[in-house]
C-alpha cells in the first residue's frame, strides 16, 4: 500500500480540483442569456474533449516510442492512454447529445457534421485499438499491431474532419481561439479554464493509475513466465 501513497494523494487532489470546477460551473459562472442553464454543460463538454485528445496523443507518443525503441514503457503508456481517452470521449459524446437536445432540437439526420462524425470515429478507432490487443497474440505482436492502429487512427481523424467539412457544419466554431481573442465573458472564461485544468489533471491521474496497473500486470506475467521456465529447467535437469 505504501507504494501507492503518491497515487492516492494525486487522486485526492483530483477530486478536490473537480469539486472546485463544479463550484465555478454552477455557482461562479453567470447564466447564459440565450441558452440558459444548459450552457453550463459547455465547460465540461469541451474540457473532456480536450482531455480525450490529450490521452490519444499520449497513445500516439507511446506507440511511436514503442515502434522506435521497442520500449515496454511506451506500450504501457499507449494502453493507459487509450482506456482513459475512451472514457473521456464517451463523456464528451454523451454530454454533447444532452447539450444539443434543447439547443439544436436534436435531429440525428441533421447533425452529421465534421466535429461529431470525427469524434464518433475517434471512439471507434480506439475501441478497435483495444480490440486488437485482445485478439492478437499477447506480447510483442499485440504491442506492434496496436501501435500501428494507434498511429493510423490519429492520422485518419483529422482527414475525416476535413472531408466532412465539405458539408455545412452545424457545430459551433471556436469561441476561444479566435483572431480577436476569446469570445467569452471573463467569468465564463475563468470557469472554463478552471474546469479544463481540473479535467486535464484528472485525466493525467487516471492515466497514471492505469499505467501503474498495467505495470503490475506486466510484472505478474514476467513472474509467471519465469516460474514456468524454472519448472521446465528443473524438469529437464532430472
Amino acid at each position: 500500500m505504501t507504494e501507492n501513497r503518491g497515487l492516492y494523494a494525486l487522486a485526492a487532489v483530483a477530486v478536490a480540483a473537480m469539486l472546485v470546477a463544479a463550484w465555478t460551473i454552477f455557482l461562479y459562472a453567470p447564466q447564459d442569456a440565450l441558452q440558459g442553464p444548459v450552457q453550463r454543460i459547455f465547460y465540461l463538454h469541451v474540457s473532456s474533449a480536450i482531455a480525450a485528445f490529450g490521452c490519444f496523443a499520449l497513445v500516439v507518443a507511446g506507440s511511436v516510442v514503442y515502434l522506435w525503441r521497442g520500449s515496454l514503457r511506451g506500450d504501457r503508456l499507449g494502453r493507459a492512454g487509450a482506456v482513459v481517452g475512451l472514457v473521456f470521449t464517451t463523456n464528451t459524446i454523451v454530454m454533447g447529445m444532452i447539450y444539443a437536445k434543447p439547443i439544436w432540437n436534436w435531429d440525428p439526420t441533421q447533425t452529421w457534421d465534421a466535429t461529431l462524425t470525427s469524434t464518433v470515429v475517434l471512439w471507434c478507432m480506439y475501441a478497435g485499438y483495444l480490440l486488437v490487443r485482445r485478439f492478437a497474440t499477447p506480447g510483442r505482436p499485440a504491442m506492434r499491431f496496436a501501435a500501428i492502429v494507434g498511429i493510423l487512427g490519429f492520422v485518419d481523424v483529422p482527414v475525416i474532419y476535413f472531408s466532412v467539412q465539405w458539408w455545412r457544419t452545424l457545430h459551433p466554431g471556436h469561441v476561444l481561439l479566435t483572431a480577436r481573442g476569446p469570445q467569452l465573458p471573463p467569468q465564463m472564461l475563468l470557469a472554463f479554464l478552471v474546469t479544463m485544468v481540473a479535467t486535464l489533471y484528472l485525466a493525467g491521474v487516471l492515466v497514471a493509475v492505469r499505467y501503474r496497473l498495467e505495470a503490475w500486470r506486466d510484472a505478474r506475467e514476467d513472474r509467471e513466465v519465469a516460474a514456468q521456465l524454472e519448472l521446465a529447467s528443473s524438469a529437464g535437469a532430472r
Partner: protein, 223 residues
C-alpha cells in the same frame, strides 16, 4: 523492388485465375447485395437516383472487406505467408504486390457492380463515376491490405478487419460518396472549384495512405 512487386501481384492473380474461387463468389456477392438493397430500400424510379450512390458505396465497402480479407487469410491458411516472408524479397515489396493484386480484384468487382447498378437501378455510368471509384480503390486497397495483413495474424481476423477498416475508410466514402452523387445527378465534376475537386482530394488521400501503409507494412509483416 518493382520486379518483386509485380511478381507477387502476378502470383496472386494467377492463383486466382487458376482456382477461380474469389472472383465468382465476389461477383455473386455484389449482385446479391444489390438485390437486397433493392428490396430493403424499396427502390422505385423516383428514389433510385437518390439512393444509388449510397448503395454503390455500401456494396463496394463490403466487397472490399471480403476481397482484402481473403488476400492474406488464404496465405495464412496455407502457411505460405511465413514462406513468402522468408524469401529475400522485402516485406514492403511483398505488401505492395499483394495490395496491387487485391486492388485488381476489387476493380473486377467494380466491373460487375457498375453495369449491375445500371441494370437494377438505372444508374448512369459516366467517365466521372468510373474515375472516382477507381481512384478511391487505390487508397482503400492500401489501407485495407495493411489491416488485413494485421488481422490475419490475430485470432479473430473476420471480426477484426471490418472493425478496423470501416472507420479508416470513412474519408473515401465521404469524398467519393459526394463525387458519385454529383456525377450521377448529372453535375460535371470538372465544374467544381479546384480546392474541393473530389478527384484531387481522393488522389491526395491515396498518396497519404500509400505512404502511411508502406511505412506501416514493414512493422506489420516483420516478425
Amino acid at each position: 523492388m518493382l520486379r518483386v512487386v509485380v511478381a507477387v501481384a502476378v502470383k496472386d492473380l494467377r492463383a486466382e485465375l487458376r482456382g477461380r474461387e474469389l472472383l465468382p463468389a465476389l461477383a455473386q456477392f455484389v449482385v446479391l447485395a444489390l438485390v437486397i438493397a433493392e428490396f430493403a430500400f424499396d427502390v422505385d424510379g423516383s428514389t433510385a437516383p437518390r439512393l444509388a450512390p449510397g448503395i454503390l458505396w455500401l456494396v463496394l465497402v463490403f466487397a472490399g472487406l471480403v476481397a482484402f480479407g481473403r488476400a492474406f487469410a488464404a496465405e495464412k491458411e496455407s502457411g505460405s505467408l511465413e514462406a513468402l516472408l522468408l524469401t529475400p524479397a522485402g516485406a514492403g515489396a511483398i505488401f505492395a504486390g499483394k495490395t496491387l493484386a487485391a486492388a485488381a480484384t476489387l476493380v473486377a468487382c467494380e466491373l460487375v457492380l457498375l453495369p449491375a447498378m445500371a441494370v437494377f437501378l438505372g444508374s448512369p455510368i459516366s467517365v466521372e463515376v468510373v474515375a472516382t471509384v477507381l481512384v478511391a480503390t487505390v487508397g482503400m486497397a492500401a489501407l485495407g491490405c495493411l489491416l488485413a495483413a494485421l488481422a490475419a495474424q490475430t485470432r479473430a481476423r473476420e471480426l477484426l478487419l471490418p472493425v478496423l477498416a470501416l472507420p479508416i475508410w470513412i474519408p473515401f466514402v465521404v469524398v467519393g460518396g459526394r463525387a458519385v452523387q454529383a456525377a450521377m445527378s448529372g453535375q460535371s465534376l470538372a465544374a467544381m472549384p479546384l480546392a474541393g475537386q473530389p478527384l484531387l482530394v481522393l488522389a491526395d488521400l491515396d498518396v497519404l495512405f500509400l505512404v502511411v501503409a508502406s511505412l506501416a507494412a514493414r512493422v506489420v509483416l516483420d516478425d
